[in-house]
């Protein structure tokens, strides 16, 4: 972390302080953060460090730890179930990022306009992402039922035969992606909508005078200007899709077989079904590295968008 300097930090350091404060400037403010530092050290930093320690141990719940070095990691990369879960995660993540980004951006363009009942409809649109994932997942499970589910009935109305949804290895991941898209497209919409709200007017006025049509204006003015916000949405969505757990766990528990077992589900089963604490911790460490890299990317994108939280 010491060698990584973010662009905004550099800029900050280069600027002279606008107001001269007394010498105890920083320590005085640290006191405000002290209780949080203690709690964060206990429930966040301690678990991280302990996980790192556990990942080097052969440890099952009930037994004691035994130091094995990097053997857990070596074993993981020979474990076909782990490799397959990486594949499932990649498949799931790519589509669970791309589709919400496309639909969410389109939705933001729609909700950016003025129309009757905009506030009400926006609230309805945002509801899926606020709803309790478990509750929603239970309803989706009932809707996917091959014989009695409402989705197969609706498909039959438009002449499409019954689908197996989450009951077939071929369709289970696309079906879970459907739920994920339903759930999280609103978050992308909100982020992009925030970007659209800050757009300047002048470029559009001069483009209109030059006779540009809607598509040209979107392609050459709107899209470049909101791109930083879309980038932020892409990074957040990627991290969230990697972490997806509740809906997958409730609807399929990784099944049928291991067809929808993502990294997170694999991790849960290793830890709390097979009680292989050391092995599961090694998965957490790998997960953690991926998430940190994506978080740094997010910070970078966030600074570029000059986005004030």
């Amino acid at each position: 972390m010491t060698t990584t300097i973010l662009p905004a930090e550099l800029a900050e350091r280069a600027q002279p302080a606008p107001f001269t404060h007394s010498a105890d400037f920083t320590p005085r403010y640290w006191l405000f953060a002290a209780p949080a530092v203690l709690v964060v050290a206990g429930v966040i930093v301690f678990p991280w460090l302990f996980t790192l320690y556990m990942s080097t141990q052969d440890w099952k719940i009930g037994g004691g730890p035994e130091f094995v070095g990097l053997q857990n990691f070596a074993e993981l990369f020979r474990d076909t179930r782990f490799i397959e879960s990486m594949g499932h995660t990649l498949y799931f993540t790519v589509l669970a990022v791309v589709l919400p980004i496309l639909f969410g951006t389109a939705a933001a363009l729609v909700f950016h306009r003025e129309f009757p009942f905009r506030g009400v409809l926006r609230t309805v649109f945002v509801m899926p992402m606020m709803a309790t994932p478990v509750a929603v997942a239970l309803v989706w499970t009932m809707m996917f039922h091959p014989q009695l589910g409402v989705l197969n009935y609706l498909l039959s109305l438009v002449g499409i035969g019954p689908q197996n949804w989450v009951y077939s290895p071929d369709t289970v991941i696309p079906t879970l992606i459907l739920v994920e898209v339903w759930h999280w497209t609103p978050l992308v919409m909100l982020i992009v909508l925030g970007g659209l709200a800050g757009l300047p007017r002048e470029p559009y006025e001069s483009a209109l005078i030059d006779g540009a049509n809607d598509w040209h204006m979107f392609r050459h003015i709107t899209l470049p200007l909101v791109w930083p916000f879309i980038m932020v949405a892409i990074v957040i969505r990627t991290i969230d899709a990697l972490k997806a757990f509740d809906t997958i766990f409730v609807i399929t528990q990784g099944g049928p077989g291991t067809a929808s077992e993502t990294l997170n589900i694999f991790l849960y089963l290793q830890a709390f079904q097979f009680y292989k604490i050391g092995y599961a911790s090694a998965v957490v460490v790998i997960f953690f590295v991926i998430v940190i890299m994506l978080s740094l990317l997010l910070l970078y994108a966030r600074q570029k968008s000059k986005w004030n939280a």
């Binding site: 972390m1 900050e12 107001f19 400037f25 920083t26 403010y29 006191l31 405000f32 953060a33 209780p35 949080a36 964060v40 429930v43 966040i44 678990p47 991280w48 302990f50 996980t51 729609v110 306009r113 926006r122 609230t123 309805v124 649109f125 945002v126 509801m127 606020m130 709803a131 309790t132 994932p133 478990v134 509750a135 929603v136 239970l138 309803v139 009932m142 014989q147 009695l148 339903w182 609103p186 978050l187 909100l190 982020i191 925030g194 957040i236 969230d240 757990f245 509740d246 766990f249 409730v250 991790l267 709390f272 957490v284 997960f287 953690f288 998430v291 940190i292 994506l294 997010l298 004030n308």
Partner: protein, 272 residues
């Protein structure tokens, strides 16, 4: 003519965007008000006729639903209150002290999968005999509430001009008084936003209670999930329970949608 076509296209896309959300929630409501016969009928019955409250009565009569509701209130309430008490001053300290590194740590904590905290905390609670207690769940839910509150408060305090606090201190106020009587009142909208989002993410959390909750300390989401696996699946009561679990969150969304939209487009991060 062209204007009319554009307008029709616009409303068509609006319809396509909003209808999936509407359909799922309407179907949830429909299932919860129908008797078992109608719920398993094919072709499906869409409108409950006559609507029945039996499913809701069953939810309360056949399960410890009231107990789990109370557990959820305790866990979420405790984690949000402690989160605010600790997180709001921390947001102030980080924003004013320019503690960039601590801010980054909070952000990384925000992004890390919830499961990654669970193994060490589970072992810790097992050693201290806290597994299956409300206390263990409140402590664990701080992992959700503190990062979101701190992160949102940093943003709000950064946008409050420093000059007001400087003026107060020149008049002899202490740092605490400058925070308590000048900065905090101005940042109250942020406290509301942070509190609401922390409430929603904590209430919705499922996995912590699955692993750490005991038979009598479970929160609602994992209690409803358990009723699915361990009892005869019947759709009506299940849908009614699911609706009851998510109802508080949906009500807050409707009542505080302006704050939520502000918080999410600013903080932009959800819980995992």
């Amino acid at each position: 003519m062209k204007r009319l076509a554009t307008k029709l296209g616009f409303y068509a896309s609006l319809f396509v965007l909003v209808s999936p959300a509407v359909l799922v929630f309407l179907w949830m409501i429909s299932l919860s008000f129908k008797n078992e016969l109608d719920n398993t009928a094919f072709p499906p019955v869409f409108i409950p006729d006559p609507p029945t409250l039996k499913n809701y009565v069953d939810v309360f009569a056949q399960n410890n639903f009231a107990l789990y509701l109370w557990n959820s209130v305790l866990v979420t309430g405790g984690a949000v209150l402690i989160g605010l008490a600790v997180g709001v001053p921390a947001g102030y300290g980080i924003a004013r002290g320019k503690a960039t590194k601590f801010a980054i740590l909070i952000l990384v904590a925000r992004m890390t999968p919830a499961l990654s905290y669970l193994i060490p905390l589970f072992l810790l609670f097992q050693m201290t005999g806290l597994v299956g207690t409300i206390t263990a769940l409140v402590i664990t839910h701080l992992v959700i509430t503190i990062p979101i509150i701190v992160w949102i408060m940093i943003g709000y305090f950064e946008n409050i001009p420093m000059e007001l606090e400087d003026a107060a201190r020149i008049d002899g106020a202490s740092s605490w008084q400058a925070f308590r009587h000048v900065a905090l009142p101005l940042a109250m909208p942020g406290v509301t936003v942070g509190g609401i989002l922390a409430f929603i993410f904590s209430w919705n959390n499922f996995i912590f209670s699955v692993v750490l909750g005991g038979k009598n300390s479970r929160t609602l989401p994992s209690a409803v999930y358990n009723s699915l696996t361990f009892e005869q699946i019947s759709w009506g009561p299940l849908a009614a329970a699911a609706l009851l679990v998510t109802l508080p969150v949906l009500l807050v969304t409707v009542l505080a949608q302006r704050q939520i939209v502000a918080g999410l487009s600013a903080g932009g991060l959800k819980d995992g």
